[in-house]
Symmetry: C2
């Protein structure tokens, strides 16, 4: 898009309409953040009026430009624009009912609630990092399908908070390293945070900081539309990602409050709103807009629609049309099931003793050979996470056609970038680190769960079983803390067969991200893999049944299933009939029928076994039960010493079972 070809006559009205809707909606809700939308209204008006290519009648058009409001508290900016752009689900009733139950206009923009919201933002720094993932996905998709089909920009509005959060460093470093020239960040440089002046808490020269990571940096008066437009134009031409520092006045237009933190997160009040109307020369009642505002914004939509129509023509003529569409569709679950079942049949004869992290690599060989658009990666633990399968090539600025990402020692950035890659479409991202470092990326994992984005996290070294690295590296509470999160499948397979099934679940999940908790240590194949049924998908199942009535039921996950099996043998030698339940995924088990659950769990006393804290085992164990696991942080020692020291042994399981009888 060339800015010269569009009318700029009504940009002031376009911007003031944002301001009016913002202050009125925040006032009606009696809560919200007017400062940012009012301050950045001019920048947003220019960006959309002269550059953005979107089609509100086809919100998911693959080649649309992406707009990410990283400063998500300014949600009224996006709602006001999307209303005026004509998104069908953003009528004025939505604006009037900002932040009310049942409306799409949540306090912060929520992906999936309304069209034109590319990602959920609000937790600061997530948006800019997710956008890095989107911008990388654009280049990766372009490398596969060419300029005719994939040729768009990713624009971000970020605030001081986004740039103060640590994750922004990871985002900036990644974007600079990958040379994401189509990523343009418009920084709302208003020098105000909630506590007051930014001078209270930061002295960083952001321009120099971004430049240090290979960014192109520009600075403009954020209320001078031509300066803004020229900068965006220049940014689009530069091969580097660009930061445009937009010097703005927070709450611009509110004569008595602008430029202060008073406008950040509270309604302006009726008096100040009236004064703002006067100052802006805005003579329209609340929630009523002049036709010029609508027509100017609708012109943006019309331009986008024309661009989309042209693109649809190119797609129709493209020789790789089917592959392109397939890349954006759900993965081929049938093909994957067949491939995994074939692999399971081979496992059945091999019965390997391997760590589940190694089993994950073996399963990924199958997954990656079957699904053409997986994108692997690791936060600098490739050889430990076993995430890179044969033939995978690193993604770099010189090779966007690669399919493996060296995310660096940036777990948080990796998780947020994976969200962005998945949201962009075209790819199925997975990435690895140690399970203990889920703590580093938890905010991004939470967003994937909240947004229902099915990314896969390969989290190895999943217990004290990692051994000598000690308590800082030994997850103890992490499995429980992740199980606590809604809409997240925490899968802890016990052997190579379950690991293959776990990958089938994770790679074909529709709306749920997955954590694969995988062992460092070798584990025997316990499952008879002759059946095609995916037992991991049931969450828990009977691995070893007894003949006749059970005396006790042993329930374990991951590396501790082996202990339960050995314990069952010890008990059998004493005439005690112990069934063994493998429970790789509590969430999937909870989703089974009551009847299935009751059949699996039985009525005998139960012993749970997991090298982690007990929290979360309640619903499965019930009253007459015992738990063998951890109740403290771990220690640094060889694995066998640790299991013995912490009393997680087959003997301890057998003893706990006998104590119940």
């Amino acid at each position: 898009m060339n800015q010269m070809s569009v009318s700029t006559a009504n940009e002031a009205i376009m911007a003031n309409a944002i301001r009016a809707l913002t202050m009125d909606a925040v006032q009606a809700a009696n809560s919200g953040h007017p400062g940012m939308p009012m301050g950045m209204a001019d920048v947003a008006a220019v960006l959309f009026n002269r550059f953005m290519q979107i089609d509100p009648s086809a919100p998911k058009w693959p080649d649309r430009d992406r707009f990410v409001l990283s400063a998500g508290h300014g949600s009224m900016l996006i709602y006001a624009m999307n209303h005026m752009l004509g998104y069908a689900d953003m009528g004025m009733d939505q604006i009037r009912n900002f932040r009310q139950m049942g409306y799409r206009t949540a306090g912060h923009p929520e992906y999936g609630h309304a069209d034109g919201i590319e990602t959920t933002t609000g937790p600061l720094g997530q948006g800019i990092t997710t956008a890095v993932g989107m911008a990388l996905a654009e280049r990766m998709h372009n490398a596969r399908f060419g300029d005719d089909l994939v040729d768009h920009f990713t624009y971000v509005i970020a605030g001081d908070g986004c740039l103060m959060e640590g994750i922004s460093h990871e985002a900036i470093d990644m974007a600079g390293h990958w040379g994401l020239g189509r990523l343009i960040v418009l920084w709302d440089d208003n020098e105000i945070t909630i506590d007051g002046s930014t001078a209270l808490s930061t002295s960083t020269d952001q321009a120099a900081r971004f430049a240090a990571s290979g960014w192109h940096v520009l600075a403009v008066d954020g209320h001078n539309t031509q300066e803004v437009a020229d900068a965006i134009e220049e940014a689009r031409k530069d091969p580097r990602p660009t930061l445009i520092a937009c010097k703005t006045v927070i709450g611009y237009g509110a004569p008595n409050k602008q430029g202060t933190s008073a406008t950040h997160g509270a309604p302006l009040g009726d008096e100040e709103i009236a004064a703002t109307r006067a100052a802006l020369g805005w003579n329209h009642p609340p929630f009523e807009l002049p036709e010029e505002a609508y027509s100017a914004w609708r012109a943006v939509a019309a331009r986008g629609k024309a661009a989309r129509n042209a693109w649809e023509g190119r797609l129709a003529a493209a020789s790789d049309r089917d592959a392109f569409n397939a890349s954006l569709a759900a993965p081929d679950a049938k093909a994957l099931r067949d491939a995994i079942n074939g692999y399971k049949a081979r496992l059945s004869s091999d019965a390997p003793k391997v760590a589940t992290r190694k089993a994950s690599e073996m399963a990924l060989e199958v997954v990656n050979a079957t699904l053409p658009n997986t994108i692997g990666g690791s936060a600098d633990l490739t050889g430990s996470n076993n995430t890179r399968t044969k033939g995978m090539e690193p993604v770099s600025r010189d090779n966007y056609g690669g399919n493996y990402i060296h995310y660096g020692i940036r777990e948080h950035g990796m998780a947020a970038a994976m969200n962005g890659i998945a949201l962009h479409g075209g790819f199925l991202p997975y990435g690895g680190t140690f399970l203990v470092f889920t703590d580093y990326c938890r905010p991004a994992i939470r967003l994937s769960a909240l947004m229902e984005v099915p990314v896969a996290h390969v989290m190895t070294h999943d217990s004290i079983g990692l051994g000598e690295d000690g308590p800082t590296h030994q997850p103890v509470e992490h499995i429980a803390s992740l199980r606590a999160m809604p809409n997240l499948n925490v899968i802890r397979p016990c052997d190579a067969v379950e690991t293959a099934e776990a990958w089938e679940v994770a790679a074909t999940a529709d709306k749920t991200p997955s954590i694969l908790a995988l062992s460092r240590q070798g584990l025997p194949t316990l499952r008879d893999a002759h059946t095609d049924a995916n037992m991991v998908a049931r969450g828990a199942y009977v691995l070893r049944e007894v003949s006749g009535e059970r005396d006790v039921t042993l329930i374990a996950t991951g590396s501790e299933v082996e202990l339960a099996v050995v314990a069952a043998g010890l008990l059998a030698a004493e005439g005690i009939k112990a069934a063994v339940i493998s429970a790789p995924c509590f969430e999937l088990f909870a989703a089974q029928s009551d009847n299935y659950r009751a059949t699996v769990l039985g009525t005998a006393p139960r012993v749970g076994v997991e090298a982690a804290v007990r929290q979360g085992w309640c619903e499965i164990l019930g009253e007459n039960s015992a738990f063998v696991g951890m109740s403290s942080f771990g220690a640094s020692a060889p694995i066998n010493d640790l299991y013995t020291h912490f009393g997680i042994t087959a003997d301890a399981v057998a003893k706990a079972a006998k104590a119940l009888l």
Copy 2:
């Protein structure tokens, strides 16, 4: 210390002794990280030989220089040095048994396991950020007690991983903003990470990046001892924090493996160790050192001891000696108890209806007036977290005498810096953000729990009760996920009285950090405060007992205790006797006697009420029970609509109770 006054003749031996102990210990353990200690051995030898002021015979000497090994995987560096320096608990048996059960030489340096370890490191980026807290504490302590008593440096060895982690941005920004000229970071610039060359994942010009945040930056050959010494000398004179980029060869000395990631995290192997011995001209058997090595390192200790003796003389003569000693001692629990009890008596007559975040501010007025060395702060939510009490002054580079820290939008940095402030000694730090953002600082919270450092986290807006900000800001799983962590008190008070008691618990905790989960919304005073007993310290207690036998027991925390009390009234109107248990801290309740717990919980069916997920309620609720709470993410709406929508109401509690009977 002036480097000219010490002998530098044996620095090569000092360094090679580190290398030898490292490669031999890692080989003996058959695991560990030889690359970093061998690469940075020269830098460490120069730093300690010419500058460090420590006294191994008095490891906690308050005015010692602090040394933080942020690249904690290189733990053998610190163990080797501390052995040779003569720390009494670091005999050669510890080195020989590196990473073995029951020894102090854990895989990563663990605070409290051995003297001379200032903080636990290993999770990357934590060390450098904790060190920022230490360096700030040094200046704050100096502002109170002067150069005679407080005048030391904080040195950090950091690796590429530390500088890639997002938290490093927060650390750098804070240190530059606060002008921490006594913080000197020695960056092991070896261009290698686990996956290979740093060129795989980063292009950031670290020198430019640090300079952008106001740092003084130098670069040296890390194997040229005079260059290293000159740089440290210059850094000590500069008023800014300094980064010294030390260009090193990872695994220096191992002729066939040095300079490659092969030396990073695996033993060198017998053959390469022999080759290294030859290359270094090191003719001593494993775990045997020449006398020159010991004598050189012991000279460092002797110099430190002399310095400490001089300091002890100054302390003895100091007019503010008692105040200085008191600042480093445990807080005056008796004084605080008396003050809190006086405050509770006043509350008893006022019975205010206030949000517990406001009640926290009211309690903090008492705490801060009683304990002279509290340091408040917030991650840019001061007005929301209510963390700044009357008369508190911001800490800045111009006012280290202040006692309130504007941490900026840097939750992770805040939590790690608080660890550093607490570890340094002299202060009791607390800091605030929203409860949902515990996700951003979880790795640092975990370290406080693991290290047993009793910092206090003021986490407000603790449920859907925050209302319109919506699901990104509404904690649902956070209380459970924090309760899952060992050695962390998660306290969720129900009213102003409990909030006061919660602060007494948090401020006097010896080895356990606290999370105070506080409401945004107003809550009535439910507790009769006439008693001096601190009921929060019991974890849970009977708030409303019935006459005669209970029909049902309602158990709630925080804002939901009010609902339970109302529900009990509804049930009473139907002739059902419902006791109400307030359970502000599950961890403290679990520590009570079985008898106390049984008395509180009773034998009637139980209903739990908490606007959060159920996970973690198991042990308290038992089998015949119900739970009223959340099972999904929240929504954006006014508070009352949310509680109704999610079915967390007094009616729902009463209904759940009746269903049990």
